[in-house]
């Protein structure tokens, strides 16, 4: 079973090839069915493979990667070569299952959501490509293979975000996603080259093992002395920084919702954005060995978590709120990995498993939230909360499932998000990062608040317009079934998988220090804060007589509200830097040099040739006597100069 693990990848690739080359243009419905079939086959292969892997490693060191297969793709110089291989360890197996599940359910959902889209065949082809790329990324046994699939993930997200390419905003969003992540990826590539040069290998097993000692030295870089390990870690982490949309490279993710909602769902839950977190987890032993590096990861993570949560409290667009909640949750995952470095200088591996656990639970409830949001949007034909309200009667199954997902993300026990978030905060506390843990608790409160703000404004209160009124109950089974299925792991995945992550999802080759004893008051505090946030949202938006229109209006709001509503003007800052400084300043100077130096030199050469040519043309005067004279004069001249023999 394990030796043929490549089949998990080949099924979606086959779906992409068949749909993209042939089926998409003939029959969109058949293309969708084929994609569903292939993703189901992929998942059906992944589950027994995971069981077999689990049986094989059970009792031994589960974190040691099992290599399913390997072939050499590019033999480079000496021992340096690029292999393609498949490694199975706790996080890659977990990701295989998560991606398989999410891809299957999103494909099924898209059958309903994209029902009226004329080019849905193309959509299914690209969705399969996306799943294939992400599956290839997680099984990568070497960093170059990871980079290949990393870029494939980038290009498929570009194609899907810009799926409705006749919409200028979708084109702009897809370009934004591509440019921002490519900017970060260029550092990733630099990091790969540097690490391969310094370590002589691209395998994770080497980079996370023997290469650490070889790279732990100071190098001089333009007069500064930097630690080579830190530098390589930073460059590679920057790739994950952009892919996982950490502040300040987060600007592409809220715009990425311009794509169809199933795309947002798969981007935000299982593919694309968790790639950055996955990269950090994959390089965890190396990053943990770089002095002070995990502190950077922790600060970036907790800042993004808090920053995005604050913005999410003011947004009106339902998908935008969810996008900022994704940013916030990704911040949690990064924060957790960073918090593994204890204040005493040791490594607390409980934080690593907490991060993997949060990836796992988050994938289900975030996928559900987006699919549910898609159902709402499909129903009212608008993204804004202004057009919703009172939808619980129209979409009862979606309503119940969304309620469960909101409870999960808000961290209310016993739903899944509570367990993973609790593990993260607990691990941070055990590592001695009191302030960060407090900020994470506060972010949890904000999360509960903005999620239930969305919930109450969308499902309760009086209906506020939208096209969906008067249709009665209106739920499409293609869309409702995946939502209801996802409600099961949303509720249970935390409780059931807790022990698995605790015991098995540990980083390889990292020595853990014995964790501090469990802090009993922390889960209670986290749950209380979540319930407080829920209650605050209820008082403001949910109770009878709450004025939803006033709650959504910007009129009479203070400057702080506008600042947050406009996302702290980060996008405008980017535009300023891009337009004024880069295009206006730097590009203007370059243009001046181009016009006045480069072009001028070319022009001068051309006009000089023309002018000297015009002078020489006067010799061609048609006077035979002049020609003869010139001829004789020339012979004499050559004779005098000694070039002619007598």
């Amino acid at each position: 079973m394990i030796a043929h693990g490549y089949l998990i990848l080949l099924f979606p690739l086959l779906a992409f090839a068949v749909n993209g080359l042939w089926l998409a243009r003939r029959n969109g419905f058949a293309a969708g069915l084929f994609s569903i079939l292939m993703s189901a086959a992929s998942l059906a292969y992944a589950i027994p493979l995971a069981l077999e892997w689990f049986a094989a490693v059970h009792g031994g060191d589960a974190s040691a990667p099992v290599e399913a297969w390997r072939f050499t793709w590019l033999p480079l110089e000496g021992a340096l070569k690029v292999d393609f291989s498949m490694i199975l360890d706790p996080i890659s197996v977990m990701m295989l299952l998560v991606i398989g599940t999410v891809a299957l359910l999103v494909n099924v959902y898209s059958m309903g959501y994209m029902r009226h889209d004329p080019s849905r065949g193309r959509f299914f082809a690209l969705l399969s490509l996306f799943a294939f790329s992400m599956l290839g990324l997680v099984i990568a046994g070497n960093v170059f293979q990871m980079y290949v699939f990393w870029e494939l993930v980038g290009v498929s997200s570009y194609l899907l975000i810009g799926f409705w390419y006749e919409k200028p905003s979708a084109v702009a969003a897809s370009k934004k996603a591509m440019i921002v992540t490519r900017f970060a990826d260029s550092f990733f590539l630099l990091g790969i080259v540097l690490a391969a040069y310094a370590a002589g290998s691209m395998d994770f097993s080497v980079l996370n093992g023997s290469a650490i000692a070889a790279m732990s030295r100071e190098v001089s870089l333009g007069g500064f002395h930097v630690n080579l390990l830190f530098l390589a870690s930073l460059l590679m982490f920057l790739g994950g920084w952009g892919k996982s949309a950490m502040f300040p490279l987060h600007i592409w993710l809220p715009d990425a919702m311009e794509g169809p909602t199933p795309v947002s769902s798969i981007i935000h839950s299982a593919t694309m954005v968790v790639a950055g977190v996955y990269l950090t987890a994959r390089f965890f032993p190396m990053f943990a060995a770089a002095p002070g590096f995990l502190d950077l990861v922790r600060v970036v993570g907790i800042f993004t978590a808090l920053f995005a949560a604050v913005i999410a409290c003011t947004q009106k667009d339902i998908k935008r709120i969810l996008a900022f909640s994704t940013l916030s949750q990704l911040g949690y995952m990064m924060f957790s990995l960073g918090a593994a470095a204890t204040v005493l200088g040791g490594v607390n591996t409980a934080a690593y498993s907490a991060s993997a656990f949060h990836i796992f639970t988050h994938a289900f409830f975030k996928c559900l939230l987006f699919l549910g949001a898609g159902a709402l949007i499909h129903h009212v034909h608008a993204n804004e909360l202004d057009a919703m309200g009172g939808l619980w009667k129209k979409l009862p199954l979606t309503w119940i499932s969304m309620l469960l997902a909101c409870l999960a993300i808000a961290g209310i026990p016993p739903f899944s998000g509570f367990w993973s978030k609790d593990e993260i905060i607990l691990a941070a506390w055990q590592s001695g990062h009191g302030l960060s843990a407090a900020l994470a608790l506060f972010t949890g409160f904000l999360t509960a608040f903005y999620m239930f703000r969305l919930y109450f404004l969308a499902f309760h209160g009086e209906p506020r317009g939208g096209h969906g009124e008067g249709h009665g109950r209106h739920e499409d089974p293609w869309m409702t079934v995946p939502i209801v299925i996802l409600a099961v792991p949303t509720v249970l995945s935390g409780l059931l998988a807790k022990d698995f992550f605790h015991h098995f999802a540990l980083p390889h080759q990292v020595l853990s220090e014995s964790p501090v004893e469990h802090v009993a008051w922390l889960p209670a505090t986290a749950a209380t804060l979540g319930i407080l946030g829920l209650f605050l949202a209820f008082v403001l938006y949910g109770r009878r007589g709450a004025d939803a229109k006033a709650a959504l209006s910007v009129e009479g709001r203070g400057g702080w509200y506008r600042l947050i509503l406009n996302k702290f003007y980060i996008d405008e800052l980017y535009l300023f830097v891009a337009r004024r400084l880069l295009i206006g300043g730097f590009a203007g100077a370059v243009k001046w040099v181009d016009t006045n130096v480069v072009d001028a030199a070319v022009g001068a050469t051309a006009s000089g040739t023309l002018r000297s040519g015009a002078l020489l043309r006067r010799l061609q005067n048609g006077n035979l006597a002049f020609y003869i004279g010139a001829f004789l004069f020339g012979i004499l001249l050559l004779r005098i100069l000694g070039r002619l023999p007598l």
């Binding site: 043309r617 006067r618 061609q620 005067n621 048609g622 006077n623 035979l624 006597a625 003869i628």
Partner: protein
Amino acid sequence: MTLERCLLLAFALFAIGVYGALTRRHLVGLLISIELMLNAANINLAAFAHFRPGDATGGATFALFTIAVAACEMAAALSIVVAMYRRRRNLDLDKLRSLREPIEAEPGAGKAP
């Protein structure tokens, strides 16, 4: 008679030919001047053959050969002159300048010459 005198004669003849070629405005005059230059070369050939120790027939043969070639060349050239006269009714070199570059065309103006 010495070699120097022969060479001086050839030089004078050649110089006269050059002068004529540069100044004659009539096409036939130009041809005559060229013929003078050829003859100067022939004198050189004959003179060197004569004053060189040994057999002189080589140089004389060469001179004869050149004369024959020049005669053929003249026949061709004169027939061209006749054809030219029939066509243009004119043998003035200052007027036969249709192959010259038109001076009024400015550089880069794109005018066909």
